[in-house]
């Protein structure tokens, strides 16, 4: 019911409240600067006064592997934080402000209310990753060599899925919470659980973080695959959204 009307409003809100601009700016900056950082970090270190002249011997000549590695590291670190920060308040703030109560007496179902928010955030991240990826590809091409398109797209798709996992968990936290503080706390607990356990050997192969290793491996012609992590990540997204919808339907706002 009215999904596209609410979705359009959410997109407009992303633009007017600068959320879209923030997501795009952060991701695009890291997308554009990652290949340059990989290329010029040794040069910059060499230029620092007092640094021994033979420092360059400690650093192998940067290659496309460093560019991709830098891109993946920056995007995941800052992207995951952005995914949490941008989503953790979207429901609870409306409950606190009273806008949720005001709009839920209109022809807007609670499921629409939640999913339109998630979809709008997802679109903001998709567009931002796309621009960041294009920038990174272009600078990698200029400074190193062109990357093959298909695996590079797959890498960015897997980064997006990683972000969507955290966004869905953060949305669930925002739905459960009665105050913004609690939503923030719950969202960071989910980050610690998913990120922390995902960093452990063997069990981490089933966590969303492993998708990034898979993506990087595709681009750099490695042999890592992470199908279980992919299915589990998609399952977590679905389960978190379904739980958020079920909880919100029964919740008094």
């Amino acid at each position: 019911m009215n999904f596209f009307t609410v979705f359009r409003k959410e997109m407009l809100e992303q633009v007017r409240t600068y959320r879209f601009l923030i997501v795009a700016a952060v991701l695009v900056i890291f997308g554009l600067t990652s290949p340059a950082l990989a290329k010029f970090t040794p040069e910059m270190l060499k230029a620092i006064p007092g640094v021994p002249g033979n420092i360059q011997t400690l650093f192998p000549t940067p290659t496309v592997v460093d560019a991709v590695g830098q891109y993946v590291k920056n995007m995941v670190q800052f992207g995951v934080l952005l995914a949490l920060l941008m989503t953790m308040g979207v429901v609870v703030q409306e409950k606190e402000r009273g806008t949720a109560a005001f709009f839920l007496t209109r022809p807007v179902s609670r499921v629409t209310f939640l999913l339109a928010k998630y979809a709008a955030m997802a679109v903001a991240f998709i567009a931002s990753i796309l621009i960041a990826a294009l920038g990174c590809w272009y600078y990698t091409y200029l400074l190193f060599e062109p990357l093959a398109w298909e695996p590079y797209l797959a890498l960015n798709g897997l980064i997006l899925i990683d972000f969507l996992v955290y966004m869905s968990l953060s949305l669930l936290c925002s739905t459960i919470a009665r105050s913004n503080g609690i939503a923030v706390g719950l969202a960071f607990v989910s980050l610690i659980i998913v990120g922390g356990i995902g960093a452990l050997p063997s069990i981490g192969d089933y966590f969303p973080g492993h998708l990034i290793s898979w993506g990087a491996s595709l681009v750099l012609k490695g042999n890592i695959t992470a199908w279980p992590a992919l299915w589990i990540s998609l399952g977590v997204i679905f389960a978190a959204l379904a739980a958020a919808c079920l909880i919100f339907r029964r919740q008094e706002v």
Binding site: N2, T5, L104, P107, E252
Partner: protein, 311 residues
């Protein structure tokens, strides 16, 4: 025919009984004043009737829709103005009303004309392109009234609709509510008894989650009327002496004196009407004022729910 019908509704928050077997019936087309002291259950009732909360037990129908199993069928039939309407601060009134119109499925041309009409109605044409984030509470309240009316609802729930408004704004909103009589059913919760006296046909008084009384306003005032007269004169000693004489009469219940005014509560109004003035003349009093006191809604309210503060 009932527009709103509530039966034996309860709502418990742990040990707190916000509603404790509430019965409520609002006939179609009436303006219903919903009164009660702090924590009586007014807002809880409105939240349940608008689908924002669920009762612990009982049943409720609004515009023929079972509120507990309404799904998507309730919102198009109701309009709701919460006590503190909340908006997206980044929108302006035109965008906001247009967005609501889209939610209700109005066509682009209907939305445009309805938005213009409502902004005129609530005197907001001059701020129609300003961000809502900078609006005062009164402006928000007026925009909330417009928002509640955008789709011509069958039943309108108003929680303190005029409490944040200046006298002019309050008059306009009350005029607006009066004009809705017969077109829509209005359920208005308020702590301003004068507003209820002015616009409501039927009054329901709720206390501790239960309906204390529900009646047409005039019947209520009549039923709880205290047969009283007030007489005012400059000659206070003569007035006081006459008061003492009145106390001995069989048709007089009590006589109290304060600041040159006698308040006489009588057993028989008919006798009092003929005997009081004549008695005053015999006592040699020159009267400044002689009045049969009509009870106010406040008197009735205080009789029914005691002196608890009202909200």
């Amino acid at each position: 025919m009932s527009s709103v019908h509530v039966e034996k509704m309860t709502k418990y928050y742990g040990a707190v009984h916000a509603l404790d077997g509430l019965d409520l019936d609002v006939a179609a087309g009436t303006v219903y004043g919903f009164l009660g002291p702090n924590g009586a259950g007014k807002t809880t009732t409105l939240r349940i009737l608008t689908g924002l909360a669920r009762p612990t037990s009982g049943s409720a129908q609004v515009a023929g829709v079972d509120v507990l199993h309404a799904g998507n069928s309730l919102p198009p039939k109701i309009g709701h103005l919460p006590e503190e309407p909340a908006f997206y601060p980044w929108m302006n009134p035109v965008e906001f009303l247009d967005y609501l119109g889209q939610l209700y499925g109005l066509s682009a041309s209907s939305r445009k004309s309805r938005t213009k009409e409502l902004l005129e109605l609530v005197r907001m044409e001059d701020v129609s392109k300003r961000r809502i984030g900078g609006f005062s509470r009164g402006m928000r309240q007026r925009l909330g009234v417009a928002a509640a009316l955008i789709h011509h609802p069958e039943v309108l729930f108003l929680d303190e609709p005029a409490s944040a408004l200046d006298p002019a704004g309050r008059k306009e909103v009350l005029d607006l509510i009066e004009n809705l009589r017969g077109q829509a059913t209005v359920v208005m919760s308020t702590h301003i008894l004068a507003d209820v006296e002015r616009v409501c046909d039927v009054v329901g008084i709720i206390a501790r989650g239960k309906m204390v009384v529900q009646s047409r306003r005039e019947e209520l005032l009549e039923r709880y009327a205290v047969p009283a007269f007030e007489v005012e004169a400059d000659d206070r000693p003569a007035l006081a002496k006459w008061g003492e004489d009145l106390k001995r009469l069989p048709w007089v219940t009590t006589v109290t004196s304060q600041n040159g005014t006698l308040r006489i509560i009588v057993k028989d109004v008919k006798i009092a009407k003929t005997a009081l003035l004549a008695g005053a003349v015999v006592a040699g009093l020159v009267l400044n004022r002689y009045e049969e006191i009509r009870p106010s809604l406040e008197d009735v309210f205080l009789q029914l729910v005691g002196s608890e503060s009202i909200s």
